[in-house]
Symmetry: C2
Subunit: 209 residues, 2 copies
DNA sequence: CCACATAATGTCAGTCGCTGACAATGAATG
DNA sequence: CATTCATTGTCAGCGACTGACATTATGTGG
């Protein structure tokens, strides 16, 4: 084999993640000790902290890989695209990761919603992702402050799209994401009393200029 | 007097905040213990944790008051305004708080930038603020998902505006904020190769439609 | 001036998150 | 079978944070 795998720790890692998710869901985050998670996974507390930097981190693991994929997609986006189109294109490129991780991220969502400490960590991960996206956009010629701004707006649109995808199975993630970006674009316009574009108006017209 | 003030704890509170800010700046966050902060303020570690929920919270105190003021401004905004104009109007209404708190927030900024744990807390506070803004927008007839989306985008624009204000003293916060919202609006448009509005192009023309 | 009520603080013991150091274990290689 | 090396177990210890109870300082009423 390629790499050494003396007592393979990858299974232990996954086992710890699922054990933590279940315990947090059943007993609550604060009421679950790190030793409890380790015990349920059949290892020691010390081993837990060798796999994860801290107790919160056990629920946020794929983030680094996702960030890598997303920033790579940004680099591969057509050079003619402006930053906004680049982001929509890139989120579409990595949509498979959303789909694959859904079995873990969807139940995780409820645990996070019930735990301030985990919401904090989730935001920190988002911030880290935005930082990386900003760098990738800068490589495309966007200034740093503008790249940071558009990265945050794109992240807001993406979150909106994923939330809609979770609730509405009648459309794929790609369509939800495209509609989310369109909605974000419309909502950030200066005009008066524009609250009539509320519901699910399916207008898949291509991106006009 | 109105309220009882047996051993007035407000001075202790302020004293703890400034002691923490200085120690974090000079010695670093991780290298500063809660007992150190308390000692510098002339009290006990236990007293520190009576005033602040945890070690990080000592740097984020005015957040609740700011959130209160901002959401109130949203409620007072002209009813004809759409959500985007409402946010710009409301951030302008509370700009005095930005100015008043600058002596504390500006040095704090560098401490946060050097401390991941504090960045995490800052993001959590922002998230809390966005949640309150979302609720206030919902009261104006915006649907919850859309309100959340526009609240995040407005927050991104606001951060951009404040950062520009910190760096450029030639304009007031109000003008910086208005330009930030305009820039956000333009950046979230779908078009190709729109990266020529990069640098400091001073275009103080009023918000056209 | 002296109780008295009240709120802030001090003291102490204890749990939990987390880490460094060192020994022990199990799988692959020769 | 011996070696190697990554993973794990064990243990001691620090810092963050909390509950319980005693203590101090302030303002009030007699």
């Amino acid at each position: 084999m390629n790499e050494a795998m003396p007592r393979n720790g990858e299974k232990v890692r996954k086992s710890l993640q699922w054990a933590a998710l279940e315990l947090f869901r059943d007993r609550g985050y604060e009421e679950t000790t790190a030793a409890d998670i380790a015990a349920k996974a059949g290892v020691t507390e010390r081993t837990f902290f060798r796999h994860f930097a801290d107790k919160r981190d056990v629920l946020f693991d794929g983030e680094a890989a996702f960030s890598e994929a997303l920033t790579q997609a940004i680099r591969n986006a057509p050079k003619a695209f402006g930053p906004w189109d680049t982001l929509l294109f890139s989120f579409g490129s990595v949509k498979q990761m959303f789909i694959d991780n859904r079995p873990f991220t969807e139940p995780r969502q409820y645990v996070i919603a019930a735990t301030p400490a985990l919401q904090e960590r989730a935001m920190a991960k988002t911030r880290s992702l935005v930082t990386n996206v900003t760098s990738a956009l800068c490589e495309r010629g966007v200034s740093e402050p503008e790249a940071n701004l558009v990265a945050w707006m794109g992240m807001a649109a993406s979150s909106y799209g994923v939330a809609a995808w979770f609730k509405d199975n009648s459309m794929g993630l790609g369509e939800h994401m495209a509609q989310a970006f369109e909605k974000a674009s419309r909502l950030s316009q200066s005009n008066f009393a524009t609250t009539k574009t509320t519901a699910t108006s399916s207008e898949p017209r291509a991106r006009g200029r």
